[in-house]
């Protein structure tokens, strides 16, 4: 099982401390490394919630962000690409993208602004100083910025984030249980947590990627599901991964039963339970191609289930021929 990491460091790496040169925080999710650095006098960085599990030693970065205070922030001047209808909006700028975060409770000006390069490899996060207590360490990528950055990075050919519970069963097989809110993902995670030899990767968010061998000259070998920091009600956020072997769409029911899905239906249902950069044609095209690979390679079923231990046994029996 591939490991994923997360590192909190002071100016010299290692443990978090107020170094003379500032702070750093590194983490790795689904094999993608992110490092935050804050200058002397800048925000003190610390992981929060599920991200603690993913702190990693500083290493090769897929995304490097600097973090600093700003006295005031203005809305970006570029073209509006996407309005979430909630706290964030995305703007196109000459040298990349800008994610602006606003709350009606805090006024019209952004309380946070994240700019990233065209390639999504470098950027900057600015925090409006008056909305934060500078004495308290914080995680500048707090939800939803961390996930928003991740889904945009994944959409550039790296993978897709799914609304799903993921399990590595006792045989090391990756089981994916997809569902909207209320479908039973957290319930499923709680049921599988008590199964010996099983690791629940997440009860709410799973990242799916092509499974590249260590020798990068070789072609990808199937698909792999990865745990993420963004847990649901069951609070399961585990660094780990497993090769994807089965896909189930959860539905509550008075008894356990399976229904086969056509490939096109399975891909459509999976897209409806994915987190993608909806404004980006290239990201959507890549995601659709990746989901087509899933339905080509992996059996996909609707799983109508009872929320008790019998559902675990039903899944184990269902996959016994693998």
């Amino acid at each position: 099982m591939a490991s994923q990491t997360l590192s909190v460091g002071g100016s010299r790496g290692g443990r978090e401390e107020a170094g003379s040169k500032g702070h750093s925080l590194s983490y790795r999710v689904a094999g993608l490394g992110v490092t935050l650095t804050s200058p002397r006098g800048g925000p003190r960085l610390t992981p929060e919630g599920g991200s603690r599990e993913f702190v990693a030693a500083a290493g090769p970065d897929d995304l490097h962000l600097t973090v600093d205070w700003a006295d005031e922030l203005d809305q970006p001047s570029g073209r509006l690409l996407f309005d979430s209808g909630g706290v964030w909006k995305l703007f196109r700028q000459r040298d990349g993208y800008a994610f602006s975060f606003c709350s009606p409770a805090l006024g019209a000006a952004p309380y946070k602004l994240a700019t990233v390069s065209h390639e999504f490899t470098r950027g900057c996060v600015l925090l409006a100083r008056r909305h934060f207590d500078s004495r308290v360490p914080l995680q500048p990528l707090e939800y939803p910025l961390d996930e928003v950055l991740m889904i945009h990075r994944l959409g550039r050919g790296a993978g897709v984030e799914l609304h799903a519970c993921g399990v590595a069963d006792a045989r090391g097989r990756g089981l994916l249980f997809l569902g909207h809110s209320g479908a039973g993902k957290s319930t499923t995670a709680r049921l599988w947590k008590s199964v010996p030899g099983t690791k629940v990767l997440s009860d709410d968010r799973i990242i799916l990627r092509r499974d590249f061998p260590r020798d990068l000259r070789r072609e990808p070998e199937g698909l792999r599901i990865h745990g993420t920091p963004w847990h649901g009600e069951a609070g399961v956020a585990a660094a780990g991964s497993a090769p994807l072997r089965r896909v189930y769409f959860l539905e509550h029911a008075p008894r356990n039963e399976f229904a086969t899905l056509s490939g096109s239906r399975a891909a459509a249902e999976m897209l409806a339970r994915s987190f993608v950069a909806h404004h980006s044609a290239s990201a959507l095209e890549f995601t659709l191609d990746l989901l087509a690979e899933v339905v080509e390679q992996v059996p996909c079923h609707v799983f109508r289930f009872l929320p008790d231990a019998t559902s675990v046994r039903a899944i184990e029996d269902h996959g016994r021929e693998d």
């Binding site: 975060f101 709350s103 805090l106 707090e142 249902e269 909806h278 339905v295 390679q297």
Partner: protein, 59 residues
């Protein structure tokens, strides 16, 4: 029998699937990660914001 097994039975040839329109249930309020997922984890937006933090969970 799922489509992969059917395909194997058919000697590797992908079975014809007639074009048709299907509807799937979308949850746009969940899909765009627009709001706070849980109260208390979205920094300044949740410390003082009742309307954002809890009325429209992001998950």
């Amino acid at each position: 029998m799922d489509h992969a097994e059917q395909r194997e039975k058919d000697g590797g040839k992908k079975p014809y699937e007639a074009p048709r329109v299907i509807q799937v249930s979308l949850r746009p309020e969940e899909a765009v990660l627009g709001n706070c997922k849980f109260a208390g984890v979205a920094g300044p937006a949740s410390a003082t914001c009742v309307s954002l933090a809890c009325s429209s969970p992001g998950s």
